[in-house]
């Protein structure tokens, strides 16, 4: 009985996407018309399936910096923190959605942290105060981070109407509505 119900539910969920096209939604992020990198853009999509082969998120420590500066992941993702510098690093986040302190670890070591709560985590190194990064944890599979040329692409979005959000370091969250179709290009512009 339970198995039958599960099959019916799965078919219903799969069927809800039938007839809807899956496409890549591209766009640009700007502040008063000027390009902005490291902006996170995401679409609300409750019930959307997780990607079958999600990318393993990595926040590298190299050249006394975190790379990337902004990392967006889906809730439940485990982020790897390799130390690729010849100095020690001590990665921590103490005030935000996911709090942790990885302690000191040397070159070549990789530590991991699961991010199970949605929200923003600010990441620091206790030894190198100028090192800082952000991990934005999102409860949706539809998200992207703008590159150095301000472009972003959200992969595999089903055509529909979505509420979207955008955040950038030091800026407020923008919220609006968007009809995603084959010709849709999203321009996020902070005033």
């Amino acid at each position: 009985m339970t198995r039958a119900a599960t099959v019916i539910l799965a078919v219903a969920v799969w069927g809800s996407g039938l007839g809807r096209e899956s496409l890549d939604l591209s766009g640009t992020a700007e502040v008063r018309g000027k390009s902005v990198a490291d902006a996170v853009v995401w679409l609300d999509a409750p019930g959307a399936p997780r990607p079958a082969h999600p990318v393993e998120p990595v926040l590298d420590q190299t050249n006394l910096q975190f790379s990337p500066h902004v990392l967006a992941v889906q809730v439940g993702a485990t982020v790897k923190f390799p130390n690729d510098d010849r100095v020690f690093h001590n990665v921590f986040s103490t005030h935000d959605a996911t709090t942790f302190d990885l302690g000191l670890y040397p070159v070549g070591m990789v530590k991991e942290i699961p991010f199970n709560k949605p929200g923003l985590s600010r990441i620091f190194c206790s030894i190198h105060p100028q090192m800082a990064a952000y991990v934005m944890v999102l409860d949706t599979p539809y998200f992207a981070v703008s590159d150095s040329a301000d472009h972003f692409v959200i992969r595999g979005v089903l055509t529909a109407t979505y509420r979207y959000h955008a955040w950038r370091p030091g800026g407020p969250i923008l919220n609006s509505q968007l009809d995603v179709g084959p010709a849709t290009v999203l321009t996020v512009d902070w005033p």
């Binding site: 910096q65 020690f88 070159v107 070549g108 070591m109 030894i127």
Partner: protein
């Protein structure tokens, strides 16, 4: 003093970012000012340029200037010289290979002597305004201003690695070692929250050959342990700075980095040094307690109170140091 400070800041703020416009090259500038009850006022500036070069090679370059109103105190001498000169500090290129789970690193140029706990970030603006006694030039032990000009190789795995450096002394402090071949070997092990290293240094001494004979030969053990934001670290060094003289000592640091302390990191140090050199012997002991406060991402304050068995330069046994550092990264 002010003119040089302005010149260094100008280089940091204007000239280097232009030169370092290559993608991913980072420029960092720091300006500091401090005052100690030793009767010492200090000012300093550093510029650092670092980042990836071609073919996975990395660049690190640092230049520093510092000056103090009174020589003879070790206040603010934790990692940089304070002699009023603009001078290069570390200047090297390095490459790191990570075949499988192994590491192999090569470094060429001028770098801090890789003996024990030796990194710039271990001592500079980490909450302590003074170098450990065992790492302060005039005590004839080690020095945080010892630099090597040569080649450094690290090999092994993250859990156990060996580092070797061959070159010549290229020191930045007032007490520079004599020219000559120089060897440093360090082994490091890592297990859970504990990092332990064993080091050996064989190098020409600082004093001239007309005064002392032999070479400096030092052995040391260092350890760091960290759990839930509480870090303990320390070093023990033992050896001969030259024939017939023994330097032996160490220190233990405590640094507490807890979320509910916010931007405040309390620090404490106990240290011990025996310099056994006949009539010139000295046996200082010192305790230090202080805080490092990160006001914002750029501004940091360090406040240290210390007490030692032998008088400081003004005849008092206690001292209070305060330092402010403003750092920008581009």
């Amino acid at each position: 003093m002010i003119r040089r400070l302005v010149a260094t800041v100008w280089i940091a703020a204007v000239a280097l970012p232009v030169a370092a416009r290559a993608q991913s090259i980072t420029t960092e500038a720091a300006v500091s000012a401090g005052r100690s009850t030793d009767g010492t006022d200090a000012a300093a500036a550093q510029i650092r340029v670092f980042g990836p070069l071609m073919d996975s090679w990395r660049l690190y370059f640092e230049a520093a200037w510092g000056n103090v109103s009174t020589q003879g105190s070790d206040a603010f001498g934790s990692a940089y010289p304070y002699d009023g000169r603009v001078r290069p500090m570390e200047a090297f290129t390095e490459r790191l290979f990570q075949p499988g789970k192994s590491i192999l690193g090569l470094r060429i140029g001028r770098y801090r002597t890789p003996f024990g706990i030796s990194g710039r970030s271990d001592y500079a603006y980490g909450g302590f305004t003074r170098a450990p006694l065992i790492r302060y030039d005039p005590t004839y032990g080690l020095s945080n201003l010892y630099f090597e000009g040569g080649v450094d190789v690290i090999a092994g795995r993250p859990a156990l690695s060996v580092e070797g450096s061959v070159g010549t002394a290229a020191d930045a402090g007032p007490d520079c070692r004599r020219p000559g071949a120089d060897l440093v070997i360090r082994t490091q092990g890592y297990y859970h929250s504990l990092i332990v290293g064993v080091s050996y240094l064989n190098t020409p001494p600082t004093l001239p050959g007309t005064i002392v004979q032999g070479r400096t030969a030092l052995g040391g053990i260092d350890a760091r342990w960290m759990l839930d934001g509480i870090e303990l670290r320390g070093e023990w060094v033992d050896g001969e700075p030259f024939d017939g003289v023994v330097t032996r000592g160490g220190y233990l640091d405590l640094m507490v980095h807890r979320p509910h302390f916010g931007p405040v990191t309390p620090v404490a140090r106990v240290e011990y040094l025996d310099y056994s050199a006949g009539p010139f012997s000295a046996y200082p002991r010192r305790v230090t307690a202080g805080v490092a406060v990160r006001v914002n991402t750029a501004l940091a304050v360090q406040l240290d109170g210390l007490h030692q068995g032998q008088p400081l330069i003004n005849g008092r046994r206690t001292g209070l140091d305060i330092g402010l550092t403003y750092t920008v990264r581009h």
